[in-house]
Symmetry: D2
């Protein structure tokens, strides 16, 4: 249920109403916009007399929220959410703050990682990505450097100042990620509906969660997965379109669904970013799909960059060289200016 | 088979080789670029001694062309094709010439059509679209105004100077389309593999054919359908991405596959345009998807504009108002400038 | 609109009502079951006063038919349709009459075709299939023997008595098919929404039309395509599930959607058959998928049989040998008995 | 790598070879068939001199195994695996032992569960299914009775003797499942690629794992997920086809991919069962899809039965009544006899 408060109502009166609603065992989300305050009610709203609520002099209107996604719903929070890192430092995400996240698919060595980190920073990236724990379809494949990879990421952060984005695969590593202060915790496409993991991400941290859409996940399912995190206490969720599984498999690995960007932006206040690397699986398509994603309204891009794509341990075919990334970054700036 | 001719070979020598190859019953496509001439051979190339060909002093190199699409293959014609209308007038399409095709889904009346035509022209459109014969899933639904609609389109052309794009559904109407001088003949998604129709479009006209991708057609199938037209004599084919059928159906009608744009541009020299209206089915998504399509490299856009979307006889939900189209057109200009 | 007539109403009274309805420019379909007569009304049923109709003493009940498919709707015709050949001879199809349609993908030669025809007949087939005109994605591929192939099919019919099922690709061949007396005219997946062709099949013949589901066609679209034929005068349509296009492409060509069989049987009175050869593309899967289709309720099977699959000009990998077909046919008999 | 041992080689000689191979740090799977012994080698087989191995007099042949799935590969284990419960009691699964698994979607109450258990047992079921922990897309929905539901399942087992099949959603519940002696642990479609969970199922138990195919999972991915369990020590995996996500959503929830049954049976020795309830989402389609699955070669069926479908807390629309289940069970018997 959505309660619009009249403009110019005093904070005390609003607080009083919120307290009364919370006493009814409802979760109350407050959104304080420039003009107006909106209250979003989650829970058994049947216990509320809607007509009574409407008749209150501080209330402008009351509306049901038929959508199954609640905390992530833009009706609750009409302006874009702006996410901040736990450290309080570093770039914000969403609401006009563009996230340019770049780095190698896998952390392979100290020199590889720090070299790439310096290059992507110089080219304009404001986050460093890199996989320490890798999800692999086969149990017999390279599974990443593990906690050693995490330490290298922290070194790269110390060296460059770039906050770190890395994937959490296993619940038992969550403590490690929190303790080490991973800035943005990525949840991969295979874990998008691992509700166990999502709940703990809600309970145990306030770090932004970069949540990828499932391999063949619907937009609604992506929002419902965000809801699992948010309902458990962490409202800092970044949604990521990363291509969906379709019949077209001759020329691209997945089909990048860019219409999901404006659809999501209309449904939710959360930031929406795009991964042009995994979706296409082809570095030659990454620049055009990056520009298209930005033109579609994305709040950021997560892109793979490798200093030696031909010899990357993982996903080399989709990685840009640092030079190609720098050229792309310059185009991104020009494009964002034109769209502003 | 692709034969690269050395630079600075005289036209006579090239002609001589071509004649010799044609005597072997091969189809020979000539591409004369700024630097170099390329010959593409289609047919039973096994009858040619490849080593002998390589040894000729006018030949730089010979390569097989494993792709099943031949005439449309960029290897045959390394530069973008630039298509022209049969009339010789009007805008060119491809190779940097942007096609902004706008108009109503269906032609409904003289005043509707001419009103919209004038408005889209004023806003920057260089082609007028409008359906006279409508493909309908149900035999009991409105099937369009038919040849009367064609006449109204011609009136609108006379009035505004905008060349006409309209859909040919039935083979028996091809003569009418040719006789009336329809500028660009559109083939809809249900007819993409109607080979009968495609062959006749190759045999009977040189008018540009706007060929839409099938409802769940692959990129390869789209190229092979273009091949049916080209192999029968008409090389003026415009490819159109219009959304593919996927499991995601809650928020969009189809999934617009924008990665198809750079994929097609790499495979073929033909112009590639995008239909953001039918793919999404939602007018609020049309502006962002239009900009994304252009950022992805599209050579044009075909978009529905209706003066009264709420009362359109067909597909009103996806039509822009003339005002929204004018605003979009201004953004397109800014975007194209930034990308140039 | 569906009008249930009371039991024991005289034929004259029913005729009288039908005449009155037809005078209102409605199409009236009559279904005379063992117990009761049902009238199905198609057209502008708003011109009818439903309450008045209900109040007639010969009318038991009146119900709207919200479905967009009308003539094919089981509500119009509660019992299974039983289709007969134009010749009046040969097996019926539907309503418990099982169609076992077998033969080569393409007609290749007299000896090949007649040899296979005799073998499949001996093994229990009651129809012979064979392609004379082949739909090929590439214009450069073998397109079938054409009318010469048709003549060979007729010879095989004369020799074995098996009625012929063969694909019509081009409208201009329809006269040939009718003149030659092709028993069952097959419409392939690429032509399922070629409305032009469907209309003419309705207007020009009463021969059963074997209508395949589109490559990525919905169940509703298949019914609407049947409707195009039926609304134009030919009610003899056989629906054919032949696999749909999905993301799973590693082990099968298409995904055979067997749940479409009971879904279609519940929605329509038309016979529903299954093509296990094209859907899977693998002869080793044909026997199990044939048995599964029959267990799912199919009214028939169309299966490819070739005497020399390894050297077939087309689709050898999916063809059974005559021996394998004979073994399968024996299993079909056993299975149908168990399910009876 | 696959090593075929000559017939009539003594067990001691085989043991000797196996020891030698294990000393090379290879995993060696032994399959002792009626005629012959097969050794399957997993790991870094490059350390083996293949020619030397071939030259041994006890070795008949050596072949590479290019497939990425190893332990589940039928080449390793040419005969069907036959799985047994940890208790040593109860029915076997696979190799001709048919699993008829029936019961409610969710455990709702003692009387509901025991009533249904008795009815399905009387009708021929040999396993009882029931969900205690429910995966729900929304965090706000009923999540199952939890451990209380587990206790009710154990009571129903005590009462009827039917072994229990129930879903494990969360890793932290694995200990509970093992301690309580859950007979068959089900892994749902959202957890098919939760590798963390799969590894622990390999390490901590020998109970059969009923592994469902992912929502849009490929056949290969399903096998690779089985591989995660098997490579970690538990070879008792049952694969379950449960419908895949496709564009067809009007009449069924998912598209049941029955060709996956013979495909899987050809690739792996593991038992393959089918869930006709979740795939279709419609109880009226369950009987025909059950029979079709069996005709396709399934080793079992898992089907929802509820005494009061209209008031089920979950998935009532797809549940059979006990009467309908009994009728279906009788048909299954007749069908299996005919197919034997």
């Amino acid at each position: 249920m959505i309660v619009m408060i009249r403009p110019d109502v005093s904070p005390e009166k609003i607080e009083h109403l919120i307290k009364w609603l919370r006493d009814k065992k409802l979760i109350v989300k407050e959104f304080h916009g420039q003009q107006q305050c909106v209250l979003g009610l989650i829970g058994n709203t049947k216990c509320i007399d809607k007509d009574m609520l409407k008749s209150l002099d501080i209330v402008e209107s009351v509306a049901d929220m038929p959508e199954t996604f609640k905390a992530s719903n833009r009706k609750m929070h009409p302006e874009d959410s702006i996410l901040r890192l736990v450290s309080g430092n570093g770039p914000a995400i969403g609401g006009g703050n563009f996230a340019l996240i770049a780095g190698p698919c896998s952390v392979e060595s100290r020199s590889q990682l720090i070299g790439i980190a310096q290059e992507v920073k110089a080219a304009g990236a404001n986050f460093l990505r890199g996989g320490a724990f890798k999800p692999r379809t086969s149990p017999y494949d390279f599974q990443g450097m593990g906690s050693e990879g995490i330490d290298l990421l922290l070194e790269a952060r110390a060296e460059t100042g770039l906050p770190i984005v890395t994937e959490l695969m296993y619940l038992q590593n969550l403590d490690l990620f929190i303790e080490k202060g991973i800035d943005v915790i990525q949840i991969g496409a295979r874990n998008t509906q691992n509700y166990d993991l999502l709940k703990e991400l809600g309970r145990c941290t306030k770090a932004p969660i970069l949540l990828k859409r499932g391999l063949a996940g619907t937009i609604k399912e992506l929002l419902m997965s965000a809801e699992y995190i948010m309902a458990n206490g962490n409202e800092n969720v970044i949604l990521c379109e990363r291509g969906i599984r379709t019949y077209e498999q001759d020329y691209t690995r997945n089909t990048l669904d860019l219409s999901a960007v404006p659809v999501l932006k209309s449904l939710t206040h959360l930031p929406v970013i795009v991964d042009p690397s995994h979706s296409t699986g082809r570095s030659d398509l990454v620049p055009s799909m990056t520009l298209a994603a930005i033109a579609a309204g994305a709040d950021g891009i997560i892109v793979e960059v490798h200093n030696d794509p031909a010899n990357a341990l993982c996903d080399g075919a989709q990685s840009l060289t640092p030079e190609a990334f720098a050229a792309l970054s310059a185009k991104i700036d020009k494009l964002r200016e034109a769209l502003a």
